[in-house]
C-alpha cells in the first residue's frame, strides 16, 4: 500500500504553564490521503487548532509536542530541521488562518508579499513571480488583479483578504492545505463564496484539505470524512455521510442537535450542550465528557474510553458504544426524556 499523504499518530501537545500542564492535544491519530478533504470539528478549546499548528510546528513557546509522530509523504515533520521546515511550509503545505485581516502583513503591499512568498519557494525571477501572483489573484476571483497587487491589506475587505490568502496558498501548488477556520471571521454570504472557491481549487489541483471548523454545516458541504474532537481527544471519526446518518457519540449528537434548522416548523428551542468543557490540566483519567453526558454510567468515571472501530471506518470513543450498555440514538432520546 502506498504511503498516506499525512499521517498523524498518537500526537500529544502539552502546554507548560505556570499553573500546570495543559493537555491541549492528548493522543490524536488520523490519516489523510491525497485529494481527500477532512474536517475536524469541536467547540472552542477542544484542541483543533493546536492539532493543526502542531502539524506545521508553529506552536507558541509554552506548547511542546511531547509524543507522537507526524509524517508527510513519509517524511517525519517532527524531525525536520529549521531549514527543511521552512521549505516545507508554504510549498508542500499551505495554511489559511482564521482572521484574514491579521494574516497579511499590514505594512507591505499585497503584491510584494505574494512575490516574496513565491520567490521563497520557487527559483523564478521577480517578474515571473509577479505574473504568477497576478494569475493566482485572477483565479480566486479578484477583480483587476494587477491593480490589487499595489494595494495594502487594509484597503481590502475581509473576504477579499481571504481570497488573497487563498491565492497565496495555491501559488506554490501545495499538496495539502491546512484551513484553520477559514470562514469564521467572514459574513455568511462571503463564507459560502470562499468555501466554493476552496472546493473548486481542491478539485482542480487534487489537493488535500484539513478543514478545521466548529460549523458542522461547513463539514457537510466540504468534507469526505470528519473527526470530532473534545477536550484534546478524538471522540468520533467517520465518513461524513456515515457520521450524519449514524452518529454514535453523545457529544456528536449534541453538536448535531445544536445546528439550527430552517425547516423546523414547530419553532422548538435550539438545543445546546449543557455545561462547559473540562479543565485541560485535569483530563486523562476518565471519559472527558462524562460530566456533560446525559448517558453517563459508572464506567465513564473510571477509565478513558478507547477509540474503537465499531463499524468499518467508523471510530468512536465511548464506553456505551462498547459492550452491554450499547446506546442507540433514538432509544437514548427516550431515555433522557424519561428523566425529564
Amino acid at each position: 500500500m502506498s504511503e498516506s499523504l499525512l499521517t498523524v499518530n498518537g500526537l500529544k501537545t502539552y502546554f507548560y504553564t505556570a499553573s500546570g500542564v495543559s493537555r491541549a492535544v492528548d493522543g490524536v491519530s488520523f490519516t489523510l490521503e491525497a485529494g481527500e478533504v477532512m474536517g475536524i470539528v469541536g467547540e472552542s478549546g477542544s484542541g483543533k487548532s493546536v492539532t493543526s499548528n502542531s502539524i506545521i510546528r508553529l506552536l507558541p513557546p509554552a506548547g511542546k509536542i511531547v509524543a507522537g509522530e507526524v509524517k508527510f509523504e513519509g517524511r517525519d515533520i517532527l524531525a525536520m530541521s529549521k531549514k527543511e521546515l521552512q521549505e516545507f511550509r508554504g510549498s508542500d503545505i499551505a495554511t489559511i488562518f482564521q482572521d484574514p485581516m491579521t494574516s497579511l502583513d499590514p505594512v507591505f503591499k499585497i503584491g510584494k508579499q505574494m512575490v516574496e512568498m513565491i520567490c521563497a519557494h520557487q527559483k523564478i525571477s521577480k517578474e515571473d513571480a509577479k505574473k504568477l501572483a497576478i494569475s493566482a489573484l485572477e483565479r480566486v476571483g479578484i477583480p483587476e488583479p494587477a491593480k490589487r497587487m499595489e494595494s495594502y491589506p487594509y484597503e481590502l475587505s475581509g473576504g477579499m483578504c481571504q481570497r488573497v490568502i487563498i491565492a497565496m496558498a495555491v501559488c506554490c501548488k501545495p499538496k495539502f492545505i491546512l484551513a484553520d477556520e477559514p470562514t469564521t471571521a467572514l459574513d455568511v454570504t462571503v463564507q459560502a463564496q470562499v468555501l466554493d472557491l476552496l472546493k473548486d481549487l481542491q478539485r482542480e489541483m487534487n489537493t488535500s484539505i484539513l478543514l478545521i471548523t466548529h460549523n458542522l454545516g461547513v463539514v457537510w458541504e466540504m468534507c469526505d470524512k470528519v473527526m470530532v474532537m473534545y477536550a484534546g481527544n478524538t471522540v468520533e471519526s467517520a465518513d461524513t455521510k456515515e457520521l450524519y446518518a449514524n452518529p454514535l457519540h453523545p457529544y456528536t449528537w449534541g453538536l448535531l442537535d445544536s445546528i439550527p434548522k430552517l425547516s423546523d416548523e414547530n419553532k422548538s428551542e435550539l438545543q445546546t450542550i449543557p455545561g462547559t468543557p473540562p479543565d485541560l490540566r485535569l483530563t486523562g483519567k476518565c471519559c472527558n465528557f462524562y460530566n456533560r453526558c446525559p448517558y453517563m454510567t459508572e464506567a465513564c468515571c473510571q477509565s478513558v474510553p478507547p477509540l474503537v472501530e465499531v463499524e468499518p471506518g467508523h471510530f468512536v470513543a465511548c464506553h456505551r458504544q462498547n459492550g452491554v450498555n450499547k446506546l442507540v440514538r433514538n432509544e437514548a432520546r427516550g431515555e433522557v426524556s424519561c428523566h425529564d
Binding site: 529549521k82 521549505e87 511550509r89 495554511t95 494574516s103 516574496e116 521563497a120
Partner: protein, 319 residues
C-alpha cells in the same frame, strides 16, 4: 502628501511665535541687568544708563518686544551682548562642535540600543534578556553628571587612558580628536541607548506575537526576513518617535555633558548666555531649538506615513 507637508509647515508658525513671546517674557523676568553685567561691578550709573540706551534696553518692554519680532521677521536675530557677534554666527560656530559628539553618540546609541532590544525580544526571559534590561533600567535612571564625573575619575584620573576635557586638535593626529570624544560620547549615549533598547524590546514583543508574523512563518518565509524585514518594520513607529526626539536634542546639545567635559557646544553657550543675561543670545538660541524640534517632529510624521500606509494626516480634507 505635498499639501499635508505645506499645511504642517504653516501650522509650525504659531508654535514658533508662542516660543518667541515666552522667551522674551521669561528673559525679562530674570533678575539682573545685561548692561551692568557687561560693564562689571565698577561701572557708574551713568555708564550703565548709556549702555542701556546702546542696547535698546531703555525702551518700554512692549516696544522692545515689537522691535524683536520685526527684526526676526527680517531674519535678523540680533547681536550677542557678550560676544558682540551676530547670534546666527555664534550658533553656526557652535553647532558643528555639538553635532560632532551628539551625532556620534546617537548613531552608537541607535545601533547598540536597537540591537540589544531586538536580541532581548527574540530571547525573551533568557538570562541575557534580564541582564540587558537591568542595564537599560540603570541606563535610563543614572544621573548624567554623576556618570560623567565617574567616567572622568576612572578613565582619566585612575587609569589615565583618556583625556578628561577639551576637544583635542587634528594637528596632534586623529587619535587626539577621537580620544577627546570618547568620554563625552559615552556619557551622552547612555540614556538614548537604554531608551532605544527598552522601546525596541517592547515594540518587537508586541509585533512578533501577531498573527501576521505567524502567518509569514506558515508561508515558509525565511526567519531573517520575518524578523528583520516584516517584524522590524511593524515595530518601527515607536522607535522612530524616540529617534526624532533624540535627533532634536542632538542639536540642542547636552548642558550637563558639555559642562563636565568643557565641550564648547550649544549647551555651554546657552548656560553662559543665561548667566550673563545675554537676552539676544538666549532668545536666538531658544528660537533655534524650537525650530529644530518642530522640523524634526514634522519629519517624524512624514516617516510614519512611509512606514505605515494606514497613517494619514489628511483625514479632514477629504470630502
Amino acid at each position: 502628501m505635498l499639501k499635508t507637508v505645506l499645511k504642517r509647515i504653516l501650522q509650525c508658525i504659531p508654535t514658533l511665535f508662542i516660543v518667541m513671546t515666552f522667551t522674551f517674557i521669561l528673559t525679562r523676568m530674570i533678575p539682573g541687568n545685561p548692561a551692568a553685567t557687561i560693564l562689571g561691578p565698577q561701572a557708574s550709573a551713568a555708564d550703565i544708563a548709556a549702555m542701556e540706551v546702546k542696547l535698546g534696553l531703555d525702551l518700554p518692554k512692549w516696544q522692545q518686544y515689537i522691535n524683536y519680532i520685526v527684526d526676526v521677521l527680517q531674519l535678523d536675530f540680533g547681536t550677542s551682548y557678550m560676544y558682540n557677534q551676530p547670534v546666527l554666527d555664534l550658533i553656526a560656530e557652535r553647532i558643528p562642535n555639538t553635532l560632532q559628539i551628539s551625532l556620534v553618540a546617537l548613531v552608537v546609541a541607535l545601533i547598540l540600543g536597537v540591537g540589544a532590544g531586538m536580541f532581548s525580544a527574540l530571547h525573551q526571559y533568557s538570562v541575557l534578556d534580564y541582564v540587558l534590561m537591568i542595564l537599560a533600567l540603570v541606563g535610563v535612571s543614572i544621573p548624567i553628571f554623576w556618570l560623567g564625573l565617574m567616567l572622568v575619575n576612572v578613565f582619566s584620573v585612575e587609569l589615565g587612558w583618556l583625556p578628561p576635557l577639551g576637544r583635542g586638535s587634528l594637528e596632534n593626529g586623529l587619535w587626539d580628536v577621537v580620544s577627546h570624544m570618547i568620554l563625552p560620547c559615552a556619557c551622552l549615549c547612555t540614556i538614548p541607548m537604554a531608551t532605544f533598547a527598552r522601546i525596541t524590546r517592547s515594540s518587537m514583543l508586541e509585533v512578533i506575537h501577531n498573527d501576521s508574523i505567524k502567518a509569514l512563518r506558515a508561508r515558509g518565509i525565511s526567519e531573517t526576513s520575518v524578523i528583520w524585514k516584516h517584524a522590524l518594520k511593524n515595530a518601527l513607529p515607536p522607535i522612530v518617535t524616540v529617534l526624532g526626539l533624540q535627533i532634536a536634542s542632538c542639536f540642542t546639545g547636552a548642558i550637563l555633558t558639555e559642562t563636565i567635559f568643557s565641550w564648547p557646544g550649544m549647551g555651554t553657550m546657552i548656560v553662559n548666555a543665561i548667566t550673563n543675561r545675554d537676552y539676544m543670545l538666549i532668545q536666538g538660541v531658544v528660537l533655534f531649538f524650537a525650530l529644530v524640534f518642530v522640523l524634526v517632529n514634522l519629519l517624524v510624521d512624514m516617516i510614519y506615513m512611509l512606514i505605515n500606509p494606514r497613517v494619514s494626516y489628511e483625514g479632514g480634507d477629504k470630502k
